[in-house]
């Protein structure tokens, strides 16, 4: 915790030092950025944009999991599915998210559904790859053990297979969330009239650097809160049995 605080303080100090060398229109300092952010919040237009972005991120993540998890699990379980799909998962991973966004807006129109579909499809391949890897790593010796002890199929799945796959699901949620934040902002920039991405682009066009940084800062803080207040505790609860690696 101490180390973390020091590293944050060091980063802010470095930011401040750098900002001394530039004008505020190129690199505003931490204080000015924070002031801008506080003014924005006081003006009351922050929440709606942040909320819209969060909704898109959450829905996009849900869609990505809905597509990615079954594909990954099936690829891990069945060699035929693996052979049929591995190329396409790779292709899906390579196509730039901008292409998905443009195609979705053209096909589905400039609306929320298109936004969420674009986000979901972009993030799905990496989630599928994670799960594919996870299912392949299932310890079949434990499955055999459970069968010797007459465990029903459902019990084997729930109590032997699922706990082994869960770390990979968790990793892909994390990883997916990281990707999805970035895509969501990009998609908002090209096709939505609100959201953090829209705001970033708006202020960029006005060349207002303090505002651009203020929105970036806000975004980063919210992401950290989600990571620390939601994901970390869930992970801790799920995996408290795991020994710590000590090198």
């Amino acid at each position: 915790m101490m180390i973390r605080l020091v590293s944050i303080a060091a980063a802010i100090a470095l930011w401040w030092l750098l900002s001394l060398a530039f004008t505020a229109s190129v690199l505003p300092g931490p204080w000015l950025t924070l002031q801008t952010l506080v003014e924005n919040i006081a003006a009351g237009n922050v929440l709606i944009h942040l909320w819209m972005t969060l909704v898109r991120v959450t829905a996009g993540l849900a869609l990505a999991l809905l597509i990615g998890v079954p594909i990954g699990v099936l690829m891990g379980l069945y060699r035929q599915v693996e052979r049929a799909l591995d190329l396409w998962v790779m292709v899906g991973l390579t196509v730039p998210s901008l292409c998905y966004a443009l195609v979705c807006f053209i096909w589905l129109g400039l609306n929320e559904a298109a936004t969420i579909v674009a986000i979901g499809i972009t993030a799905a391949p990496s989630i599928a790859i994670n799960l594919w890897e996870g299912v392949k790593n299932i310890d079949t010796r434990l499955v055999a053990m459970a069968r010797v002890f007459e465990a029903r199929r459902w019990t084997v799945f729930r109590r032997v297979v699922l706990p082994q796959v869960l770390p990979y699901v968790m990793a892909s949620v994390r990883f997916g969330l990281g990707i999805i934040w970035k895509i969501a902002v990009l998609v908002e920039l090209i096709g939505r009239p609100n959201g953090v991405g829209f705001q970033l682009f708006y202020w960029y066009q006005l060349a207002d650097m303090p505002q651009v940084l203020a929105w970036t800062l806000l975004f980063t803080i919210v992401m950290l809160i989600i990571e620390l207040a939601i994901l970390k505790p869930i992970e801790h609860r799920l995996f408290s049995w795991r020994p710590r690696v000590e090198l």
Binding site: A146, V148, F149, E150
Partner: protein, 261 residues
């Protein structure tokens, strides 16, 4: 004969080969009778089909030909009509469950009535001297303790037969030796039928009533061990028997592969 637990006749197991050649015959007509409360050791070199045999007996592998009768009834493929306790070469514990939860998992799977759980656990944790570790996770325990926990799990499901697949081969000699002695005590106290697979001839000589020497997918020799129980691990009589067993073992191995020096 009421006290026959398993009777196996002409058991054949083949593994299909990959490149269209003749399938690999792992068991070539195995015959075996196991009586109630007997301690049988199947002794054989690696790759002789010992583990394959246990997999069939435990119901894990339903693809074989031949006949297996269990207590006079036909053995239905994949569904042994009697309860099996299995001790694998590795402990095979679920790492996200504590020692006690691992045992609970097996008892729940085997549908042991919950009213008996406490008594069963108390007894077997005590027998294996693991009382103090019921709340520990497997990674907090040593290899020998994990294997003992696996034994607790196998005993708590009240098995008719205990199948053991080289359960002590991954442990250091001192630990293994202690567990062998413990196992005989537990066997005496619980009167189970045990089929114990090993490639360690001294282990087989010390533990069993009968050694079935297996090679090339068949039982080549049957050696009764008439040493009185309880046995002493350092009994010269067992050393003497072991010497004979090793000699036979070498002969059998040589007959199997005459070309190798």
């Amino acid at each position: 004969m009421n006290d026959v637990v398993f009777s196996v006749r002409n058991l054949v197991k083949e593994f299909p080969s990959r490149d269209g050649a003749a399938p690999l015959r792992v068991l070539k007509g195995l015959d075996l009778v196991v009586r109630r409360n007997e301690f049988i050791c199947i002794l054989g070199p690696s790759g002789c089909g010992k583990s394959t045999f246990l997999n069939i007996l435990s119901g894990l592998d339903p693809r074989y030909s031949g006949e297996i009768d269990v207590g006079g009834r036909k053995f239905k493929a994949g569904k042994p009509p009697l309860r099996i306790g299995y001790l694998f070469q590795e402990p095979r514990l679920l790492p996200w469950l504590t020692a006690e939860q691992n045992v609970d998992f097996a008892m729940r799977s085997c549908r042991i009535p919950a009213s008996r759980w406490t008594a069963l656990k108390d007894r077997h944790f005590h027998l294996t001297r693991l009382d103090a570790f019921r709340g520990h996770y497997p990674h907090q325990m040593s290899g020998g303790m994990c294997q003992r926990l696996a034994l607790v799990r196998a005993l708590c499901v009240e098995p008719d037969v205990l199948l053991m697949d080289e359960p002590f081969s991954g442990l250091d000699e001192l630990t293994a030796r202690r567990l062998r002695v413990d196992l005989l005590d537990i066997w005496r106290d619980t009167s189970k039928t045990i089929i114990f697979v090993t490639h360690n001839s001294y282990e087989a000589s010390f533990l069993s009533d009968r050694i079935l020497m297996m090679s090339q997918g068949e039982v080549q020799q049957e050696i009764p061990i008439d040493v009185a129980r309880p046995r002493d691990y350092d009994d010269p009589e067992i050393f003497e028997i072991n010497r004979r067993v090793v000699k036979l073992f070498l002969e059998v191995a040589q007959a199997a592969a005459p070309a190798t020096p």
